[in-house]
């Protein structure tokens, strides 16, 4: 009986292995690009060469201080520290690091029990002298928990390093800030983003025009994660076999193209009130644009126009009001009328100044 059962087991095993190998292959294929191309080495992190060099030097000299990495989303904060941890520990990564983020409960109890337990124990048989505790999204920790951290951080300096990561440095209490070396991750420059995009394009064998790469970079606005997501969704939504072009990138994200903005501005500055409302509404409908996006991009355009300063000041102030109201679930059409009204006033001011 037992023999038979064992036999069956034995016969099953290779099959199961094969199945899991296929699964792993599938998983790789199904991965989102954001995770697939997350840098695994420090040197792969796209931008902030100075910060990366500094951290790399400190890591290799075994003099890593406490770190506080902060900045807007998608600028490589988590990627950097994960890469550091991988370089430090290699395969021992999971034993030597404790990663806590906002999805974990991080009240004062966790700080008192889990963190302090992890921090206070020594680990033998590892080359690196210290363990690493990564507190991701630490700006959403409660004040109490942050206060409780202060002493723990100091007490275990010998064999533990802390790394705090957050979007807003102002939400981290000053007492913690002063214990860490701060690095600000600013939004990525267009060249760094473009290099990385081109790398992904080569890896994935994508057909894409240069204009489209520019568009992806521009819409990503220095946020690497958003950029890669735009690239992946443009790739998924493209029609037919041709390369991805700038138009399809704009269409996928629902963002107005520069041509659309020019057309809308032309209508607003030249047509009378009734026509302007009808025409802008038609463009909005046809291209599926949101008024808030239009207003935001129109402001840039307005600053490029030649018009009296006072008129521009009033116009921009009115547009800001419209944008503010749109953020609060208001009626698009009524706000569109207000926008047309703002331009009508500006037109009048321009005419008055010309006289």
């Amino acid at each position: 009986m037992t023999e038979a059962a064992m036999d069956v087991d034995g016969g099953d095993a290779p099959q199961r292995q094969k199945a899991s190998a296929v699964d792993a292959n599938d998983a790789k294929k199904n991965q989102m690009w954001v995770e697939k191309y997350r840098p695994s080495k420090l040197s792969d992190v796209a931008a902030h060469k100075d910060i990366i060099d500094t951290i790399g030097r400190l890591t290799s000299q075994d003099r890593l201080p406490y770190l506080l990495l902060y900045g807007p989303p998608g600028t490589g904060k988590t990627s950097t520290i994960l890469a550091v941890a991988k370089e430090l520990y290699g395969p021992q990564f999971s034993q030597m690091t404790l990663e806590l983020n906002a999805s974990d409960d991080r009240g004062i109890d966790v700080v008192r029990n889990e963190i302090s337990a992890f921090a206070s124990t020594m680990r033998f048989g590892s080359n690196a002298g210290f363990k690493l505790i990564i507190l991701d999204e630490c700006d959403s920790m409660t004040k109490d928990a942050q206060f409780a951290l202060r002493r723990i951080i100091e007490k275990y300096t010998k064999h533990t390093r802390f790394c705090l990561i957050g979007n807003y440095v102002s939400k981290v209490i000053p007492a913690l800030q002063s214990r860490c070396t701060r690095f600000r991750f600013s939004p990525l420059g267009p060249n760094a983003v473009k290099d990385r995009v081109q790398f992904v394009v080569r890896q994935e064998n994508l057909q894409i025009t240069d204009d489209a790469i520019d568009a992806v970079t521009r819409l990503g606005a220095g946020d690497m994660r958003r950029t890669l997501n735009i690239l992946q969704s443009s790739f998924l939504s493209k029609e037919g076999d041709g390369p991805i072009d700038a138009n399809s990138v704009y269409a996928t994200t629902g963002q107005p193209r520069p041509e659309d903005i020019e057309a809308i501005a032309g209508v607003l500055l030249n047509s009378n009130f009734k026509e302007a409302v009808a025409k802008v509404a038609a463009i909005k409908q046809e291209r599926g644009l949101a008024l808030a996006d239009i207003v935001r991009l129109l402001v840039e355009y307005v600053f490029r126009l030649h018009m009296p300063q006072l008129a521009r000041a009033n116009l921009v102030s009115d547009m800001a009001d419209v944008e503010y109201r749109l953020a609060y679930v208001t009626h698009e059409r009524l706000q569109l009328m207000a926008l047309v009204g703002a331009f009508a006033n500006a037109r009048e001011a321009i005419v008055a100044a010309a006289k």
Binding site: V34, N229, L236, S237, K274, Q285, M337, A342
Partner: protein
């Protein structure tokens, strides 16, 4: 449930992503996802009735089939509790479990799908607790985040998703679908019906279908025309609005306010009156652009005030008064 008592909105909800009207980019993306079984996290946003929930449910059905969908898909909407504790326990629990065997005959990719409907009503704390969960379990779980207002979704979440805006539906697209439903229900759509449906619904498919069904139910006739649709749409009589504008032009604030008051007493919503008044003023050839600008600026402010919970009749009177003053000059 018999098919006659079922709301048409549910009865004719598209089962297939190909049937979803007017959202070509999203549909193409999802079709490719069906072929390659690969997709990023998705963020669908746009006005109500444009097909967000329909798309999400249809793709799940097509990916997993009717049986597997029960274990692979979790849908949470605003009616479920979604505070930070739910994110930490329920969502994380669902997201972290591994997936089992696929169903034969369906692509059934090796990940689960978590649909967060009406995500703009989630608290900021709950949203920020989602951030790392979305990344850590991206191998086994994809998130579909559905909302009306993208500005209510925190930036770190938005940056983790491929964003798709659902556009309000145009006249023709809406007409096609309404015609299909009317034929299936044995109705004839008379003159002006499509136009009335699309103006009164403002590109909201659900509202248009509901209007059609209410009109069919209320009048019980086999032919529905634009007039019947307008009657159930709850629009204010155009003549009354025209009267208000005319009184404003001659600076008779009291008279105008009396009419507004009586319209409000008839039970029409303030926003409806404001919208029709605004359209009327914009279309009026006898009013100069500068005056229109002034009135529209006040109307836009009133719109915001109403959202914040201001008193309808006061805001309406303020608009009418502004209009009177502006038109005087």
């Amino acid at each position: 449930m018999t098919s006659t008592s079922q709301p048409w909105v549910e009865k004719y909800r598209p089962r297939n992503i190909n049937d979803v009207a007017h959202q070509e980019e999203v549909v193409r993306t999802l079709e490719k996802a069906l072929e390659t079984a690969n997709m990023p996290h998705m963020l669908f946003y746009g006005p109500p009735g444009t097909g967000k929930t329909t798309c999400a449910l249809a793709i799940c059905r097509q990916l997993y089939g009717p049986e597997l969908i029960k274990s692979r898909v979790l849908e949470l909407n605003a009616s479920d509790e979604r505070g930070i504790s739910v994110v930490r326990n329920k969502i994380k629990g669902f997201a972290s479990t591994a997936v089992g065997q696929g169903a034969p005959g369906y692509p059934s990719p090796p990940y689960k799908i978590l649909i967060l409907d009406e995500a703009d009503s989630m608290t900021n704390d709950a949203q920020s607790a989602l951030r790392r969960t979305m990344e850590t379990y991206s191998k086994v779980t994809r998130f579909f985040i559905l909302c009306n207002y993208i500005s209510r979704i925190i930036e770190p979440i938005a940056s983790r998703c491929a964003k798709f805006r659902f556009k309000p539906l145009g006249h023709e697209v809406m007409g096609d679908r309404l015609k299909f439903i009317a034929t299936a229900e044995g109705l004839t759509l008379g003159e002006g019906c499509y136009e009335a449906c699309s103006t009164h619904s403002g590109g909201d498919m659900r509202k248009a279908i509901t209007l059609l069904q209410s009109a069919a139910r209320l009048f019980g006739t086999a032919t529905i025309t634009g007039k019947e649709i307008t009657a159930v749409a709850g629009a204010v009589d155009e003549d009354q609005v025209a009267q208000v504008v005319a009184l404003c032009k001659t600076n008779q604030v009291d008279g105008a306010n009396r009419i507004i008051e009586s319209i409000l007493k008839d039970g029409f919503p303030g926003l409806q009156i404001i919208t029709q008044f605004a359209e009327r003023v914009v279309d009026d050839e006898g009013v100069s652009d500068a005056v229109k600008g002034k009135i529209c600026a006040r109307i836009a402010e009133a719109d915001k005030a109403l959202v914040d919970g201001a008193d309808e009749s006061l805001q309406l009177m303020a608009i009418v008064s502004t209009a009177c003053v502006a038109m005087k000059a």
